[in-house]
Symmetry: D3
Subunit: 249 residues, 6 copies
């Protein structure tokens, strides 16, 4: 996938600096969810299930609109060393909550909640294997799962108009050893100087930009270059999302 | 797999009464765990990861022996309707704790904890899709994951002697509409009169027998017939476990 | 109570192998519960209180039937060494939850929940002193407490027909030093090779069979012998339960 | 016990205004605790167990002194209507914590923690049946349980000198319908205008005075009268505590 | 403030034994609360906010009366050494719960809950800086915040009659080095022999008296002297509360 | 402060689009913290306390370096309507955790943790009153508190070299009604189309950029304009931080 001529000596994976990891989006991965997707971005594998629930949170009751929300989890041994099971420890970490809030906001940004009707689209993103970029893969996969669930609602006549206004996808970009690059894997991410998670619509609008200096603060020019890389990466992700939806389930 | 001549009209799946569901054991499913297995028993899919941890629980410190333990989880949308995420709710249900205690006890029954040395073998069993019998599939898969992790310890010279004395596997049997049958799926399990989860070693010894009357109390003769079915089913499971370990990873 | 001619040299208590511990069932032990029983099985003392609550769990609302459920607890110093207070630690252990689920299932197995009407019978089993077999004593005592509470409902005209179809009682059996024996005390239980908790109705049907190999796996013949012992023990328990109910309160 | 000539028409129980409820202190109630007492003050029954633990809290480590602490609980059906089980709800109520802190402080007031040595005396006070005054009965009973545990330490040679400087006991007094009275039961307590829990040493010194206006604020003269009643009641309690310790176990 | 001629050599602060710490009550400290007060008693600073909520606790629903309740917190670095943040630790300490229950009871003692109507007055007392006596300052300040909130309800016509029957205030008194003194600061409190927290109405009635022997038990005469000191101190506090309410906001 | 000629008709506060809210930084606000600051940005008031703790988190033990971390809280009635007290509810919200993680990362970005030595600088940011931008005010104030604490360490000789490499401050910028503006208050923030929280060093490097589309996705040009506004605003904040440190405490 995506063979780039200027293969970079910089990256352990021999990817070009502006090259996404091999991405696959497997639809219908589990049987019961209204939309189910296993997204694999290189070694990062996330199971994204969309559930249609006939209820809305209390603050929306009786207002004739729907809600889109997300929960995120990482299996204890998705990573190099085993992490605590959050259910056993009795609470979700700050990181988990931060990520699931981000996924929910990102999805809502492309939904017409009125058109969804008084129901909740609940996205569960569970990381089976983690090699960096799990929040971005979750958003990209969750949108496909959501689109599948919405297709079911449309096909079944539960809603008349498509509540999805655009696609949404996410990618991380970062400065590694002073070099800007696209779609960091775990090795790149853990040693980077700065990384930015970018969430954009299919039409190229920004939904979220979350940039963090890991070591020293970064310059405006660096940010500009990283945003360029992200924009091009997300255009390719949006195209792969569309392809996944066009394949027979 | 396992075509039985006397295919039963009783079962929705057209399986014979003494027929296991199609079973596959995929080793090396994830990349980082010391042993990783995706076990599929019909529509029940469980990811079993074995982690080797260089520590033991406090009550075993300095006693020169190891420990084997397990945790169990079900992804929120593994089932027909979405269940609460235990990490979000802040605690594991009684059912979850009961199952993970059972998995741990079952594995320990075939381990020589002295030979394991002062380390913990931690089994994580996460249900990706649930169609009945998740605790049994977890035990059967977890043993294979544990065996893979132990093989790594032996190959790497960390331990000298194999701490695994025998295989262990589990299956459910039940009385459905008055008919004893093997390896219940969700539809059979939710309507059964009695079900028994049986955990046995490869040599045919009992590790656990957990029988429950769902409706009326059951007779000794019923229990005997169910235990017969379980014994034969587990013999086949033990054979499939061995095959899985002989395949190249 | 129950002097057996073949008094065994095997047991520290000089009990015969098929002999129950001295059992007493004191009704009316506390004043406010609709049914209150202090059951003493040797050194194991459990206070079983039955409360009648005019509500049912959410999943049963408006379905015109009742519910029977149980909670279990052990006072911190019921045992040889003080255990943590679960209320102070902030959660019930897996063991506690497993036991209270077992008690609830066992009681429900002999109840006609329709005949109970839309109310809950809540059993609280609190162990004041523990010398093995607390879950079995809890079930045996809880049934008597439940029967007392139901008698009150019948006497008061709250229900017309007795919702209790049969009695239910439980006993542990085990293999100690290779010898099958009935009704293990703590010393026997902690050193046994296998133990089975058996829950049966007064009519002799099985409600639960929970057998566990503590050391090596056990044979089918062992299981058969243990089930024989349990059947006879439970017949005696059922008779003692009936006597307790016939005594003036 | 305590027949008073001026039997009062005011009290439902026909007790005199300055009369304690019938009090019994049964020692050796459970088998394993180093000191075990069932105290019954009228319909209030509290099991007080004293455990000797060979450790001290972190803030006392290595300081060559001991600690005395308490935990309190009420069985769910100790009262007229069933209360939540704190272990199931996942936390102790504010009331529970307030009471157990009070019991601990009261006991420590009569202990020489240096003489106790580097160990903890842990008092568990569990209310089996509640008819008012459970915190006072807990203190009075806990002191006897503590004294029994200390006697064991002295008899066994673990400590050389008695760390108990005096006895401690508690009683409630209150203004009911404008009339000051001693040792309120639940009916009196729930309708009173003011109640005061008083904790005093055998020598008559104050350890705690906790007075609360339930309706209108009360006068200094009322407080004085209530403190007089409490002083006399506690003198009788102290005498009953001494008697309990002199009985053969 | 309050220059006393007989300045005491006993107190580090050179205060007279019967002298309050300099007290200021700043109303309108925050913008949104219906009543907001920053009370400073020497180095103890507590922000007391009163919120009017249009709901009552479940046990009062539909009974046409209101409720007054309080919560208390201490900022982690209000004290000499940083304490845990209770929200991060996941529970309120026993001390916190004891204090907030005391504040709530104290305020309710002077409220006509019928006249308040079916609404809740919720007092939040948050200690910004702690130099002893935080519970007393909380009560004294909370009453002023409550009075401001009630004034708003009266001015806005939400209620017709003033539900506040009297003022309420609190002070600590104690025996330090054998000397009775008023309004202990942290240094005095941590070394005292006995301390009593006294809550009284403006009319001089007792609402709460909470006396504790820190070292040896104390005599009745000591208690009497401490109650005298408290009475006079509270009279001055009541006067300062009235002044604060008369100042323009 | 900061009178801008082009006062905007767009803003309710009549501020210019590129104008900060009146900002005050009061040092020494509480007595015990090693650094204490009350920062007021318009109606947003945050108490920032820096504590020096002689320990580091477990993952840093024995590595000769320090740590900087933060906790954030909002008093229940800091806002228009009362929010739950997180300590009472038993957990910190996802929003709280997200903010405190951001504050900690932002501070660490300008610290040389080696130079700090094996100790922790713990920042507590507690919002007394909230009118938008509380996370930004927390970062800006926390840096001043941290600098005061570090000054104490330097003055006392605990460390030889200043571990602070630069200042750090934060501001929010947003698109309100299509108009980019600086330092949103609550009214502006709750109705904005997009907002970006920007954290920058005194030297003008980016530490964090967190942009979120609240309604429609935003354009790159919008992001650029917002980043320009933030850069200028933060330059002014950095100057105010320096001034605050130069004032006598």
């Amino acid at each position: 996938m995506m063979m780039s001529p200027d293969t970079s000596p910089v990256r352990a994976s021999a990817r070009a600096l502006d090259e996404l990891r091999p991405l696959s989006i497997e639809t219908g991965y589990t049987r019961y969810a209204e939309g189910s997707v296993l997204i694999r971005a290189g070694g990062t594998h996330v199971l994204c299930n969309a559930s249609v629930l006939d209820k809305v949170p209390p603050f929306l009751k009786g207002r004739g609109q729907g809600w889109v929300t997300a929960e995120y989890g990482m299996l204890p041994r998705a990573t190099h060393t085993r992490g605590d099971r959050e259910a056993a420890r009795g609470k979700q970490s700050g990181r988990t909550q931060e990520i699931q809030r981000l996924i929910g906001r990102s999805l809502r940004a492309v939904f017409d909640l009125q058109a969804l009707g008084e129901r909740t689209l609940h996205l569960d993103c569970d990381v089976l294997q983690a090699d960096g970029g799990t929040r971005c893969a979750s958003i990209t996969g969750a949108w496909v799962a959501a689109a599948l669930a919405v297709r079911g609602l449309l096909d079944g006549g539960a809603i008349a108009a498509d509540p999805i206004r655009d696609s949404v996808a996410a990618v991380s970009v970062g400065l590694v050893g002073g070099v800007p690059m696209l779609d960091l894997d775990y090795g790149e991410d853990s040693g980077c100087d700065a990384d930015v998670n970018v969430v954009m619509t299919g039409a190229g609008g920004y939904v979220e930009v979350q940039g963090t200096a890991e070591g020293l603060a970064f310059e405006r020019a660096t940010l500009d270059r990283l945003l360029d890389l992200a924009r091009d990466g997300i255009a390719r992700l949006a195209s792969l999302q569309r392809e996944a939806l066009q394949r027979p389930a």
